[in-house]
Amino acid sequence: MAYDSFHILKSTAVPLPIENVDTDQIIPARFLKATERKGFGDNLFRDWRYNQDDAPKTDFVLNNPIYRGKILVGGHNFGSGSSREHAAWAVYDYGFRCVVSSFFADIFKNNCLNIGVLPVQVSPEFLNTIFETITSTPETELIVDLPQQNIQINSTGASQNFEINSYKKENMLNGYDDIDYLNNIKSEIQVFTENTPL
């Protein structure tokens, strides 16, 4: 599924300074029963966001109107656990286009890149600076510049470069996905297959 392209994102951010946020928290398994990619944002962080009677938990950051924006900032090892792409869909569907952390779990990171959510890995020190800045001054904007591979705190100018695979970067800039690419080389895949026994 192709998605919107990503260039420069300037937005306020939502801080979630918890480590090892796993995909069961991002979207619990009982919400994986859909057969279409729709409505997962409603259940993003379901059990941290709502009590069992569906009343919002006022102490959870997504229920705090002070914090909003298209960037989610999470603690070390964000997205660990299950391979469910529903976690990345939930993040996207809620309205986030970028997740910042000091470390990402592998499959979650891949899933994000495949659907148009940019995972930005920064140093633990810079992550702390971001947390401190946006927690104390929630209107602070972050500027995520994909062409330059740079993330900046707008108010202070503090910034850091980030890594991204050049192929994935090209895809994100254009809103392409891997199937577009693989489909174009199907004849080469065919030749390989003929030489590969079942």
Partner: protein, 441 residues
């Protein structure tokens, strides 16, 4: 870019991928390399009746229809080959050394026990593989974990894995594929190796593998999808070359000794928060990571730093899952519960990983042992491991579980999971509290 030899598909992570194919008007390129089974969402009682939950029923129906449309073999609910995807793959010989195997499930690492390159993928990647039989991946780094020596009595493959994860943390192997080497892994049965490789993802590794040897070849020989006759000989010629060369380079090497490992149990909300069952819950300053996250985790579990785990009361026991839902796991459980009685405060769910496992439980007389001890057997599926079906641990209750994840709410909203081996689970089921299984063997 990798060509994928075997693609396993289940009902939860595939429907959106099939929808993507439909929207792009693409066929499944190699249905003969694609295998579908229903497991995550299926009930574990009354499987002969229509599935009660409409959403689950709809998802199962979608897989059945997608499989039919694209000519994919489908082992649905009630099919005699049905079971958890990572249990049935090896059972029928679909899993083979050197093969590239993917599935939209992180525990695909299980198949690495056969020396396969096996890893979990997301739904967009499922669509890629359905459409092109290929997948693009960054090349992982290489880690080798060597454990020599012998395991102590009462120490199982699950304990070995939980021990390693407790040393590495849940992110210690992120970005790596792991080879498990040394006497301990060579001594393990194929099922034990599957348990270890299964849990590779819990330390962040996409895949884990063990070099194939005589045990591997003996296991796969003669299974339905295993090559026969001259094809077997040809395959063996290749499989026998699949070991790590002397002096091969690894980005990271770790080694431990088998005698260091005790029966393990987790006390927190990720699989890295495990320890010897005889130890006390560590203090915040003794663990890696932030104190706030640690405090949140212990508060969720209702535990305090410095407490001993032995003797803590429990409410539920779950034996099953792609981690510990094979016949050897049920034999281990039976070894402890034989001629004893289930503790009255314990609800136990015994869920075989497949029909083949279920049949073996009956054939070997384990069924009678369980019944006599007050345990009932359910029908195969993922069940309470991720609680997508009705097998949910109630909020606040403690479950000793042989599954793979103790995340908050994993086994039901508010449920508290203690990961452990089938022996530890059996000891808890009999005594109603956390008990060192070595006192009962």
């Amino acid at each position: 870019m990798l060509f994928i030899d075997r693609h396993m598909v289940h009902e939860v992570t595939s429907p959106v991928a099939f929808l993507g194919l439909k929207n792009r008007k693409l066929p499944v390129l190699h249905p003969e390399r694609t295998f579908a089974t229903a497991d995550h969402n299926t009930p574990t009682i009354n499987q002969h009746l229509p599935v009660a939950d409409p959403l689950s029923r709809n998802q199962l129906k979608a897989l059945e229809e997608n499989a039919k449309t694209h000519g994919i073999s489908y082992w649905g609910l009630g099919h005699k080959k049905n079971g958890i995807v990572h249990v049935v793959g090896p059972e029928y010989g679909i899993t083979q050394p050197g093969a590239t195997i993917v599935c939209g499930d992180s525990h695909t690492s299980t198949h690495g026990a056969f020396g396969a390159i096996a890893f979990g993928i997301g739904t967009s990647e499922v669509e890629m593989v359905l459409a092109t039989q290929c997948i693009m991946q960054p090349k992982p780094k290489k880690m080798r974990i060597t454990i020599d020596g012998k395991l102590n009595h009462g120490v199982t493959p699950k304990d070995v894995a939980l021990f390693i994860i407790s040393k590495l943390t849940t992110s210690g192997a992120t970005g790596y594929f792991v080879e498990y080497a040394g006497e301990v892994f060579r001594d393990l049965s194929m099922e034990g190796r599957m348990t270890v490789c299964n849990l590779s993802i819990e330390m962040g590794a996409r895949g884990g593998m063990i070099a194939p040897d005589e045990k591997t070849f003996d296991y796969i020989k003669g299974r339905e999808y295993t090559p026969q006759g001259v094809y077997w000989d040809k395959a063996m010629g290749y499989w026998e070359t699949l070991y790590t060369d002397e002096g091969a380079y690894f980005d990271k090497e770790l080694s431990f000794h088998g005698s260091e490992i005790d029966p393990m149990i987790t006390f927190g909300t990720n699989p890295g928060m495990g320890m010897s069952i005889t130890k006390a819950i560590p203090k915040a300053e003794e663990v890696e990571g932030g104190a706030a996250t640690y405090a949140k985790s212990l508060a969720y579990m209702g535990y305090e730093e410095g407490e001993s785990m032995i003797g803590k009361p429990i409410d539920y026991v779950f034996i099953g899952s792609c981690t510990n839902g094979r016949i050897e796991d049920f034999r281990a459980f039976a070894e402890i519960v034989k001629n004893k009685k289930r503790a009255e405060n314990v609800t136990a769910w015994l869920v075989p990983g497949s029909h083949k496992v279920l049949n073996a439980i009956k054939d070997e007389g384990l069924f009678e042992i369980f019944e006599k001890a007050g345990f009932q057997l359910r029908e195969p599926g993922c069940s309470a491991c991720l609680a997508m079906n009705d097998d949910k641990i109630p909020a606040g209750k403690y479950a000793v579980s042989t599954s793979n994840r103790n995340f908050e709410g994993r086994q039901g909203p508010g449920a508290r999971t203690l990961l452990a081996s089938p022996l530890v689970a059996a000891a808890a089921a009999i005594t109603g509290k956390i008990t060192d299984p070595r006192t009962l063997i």
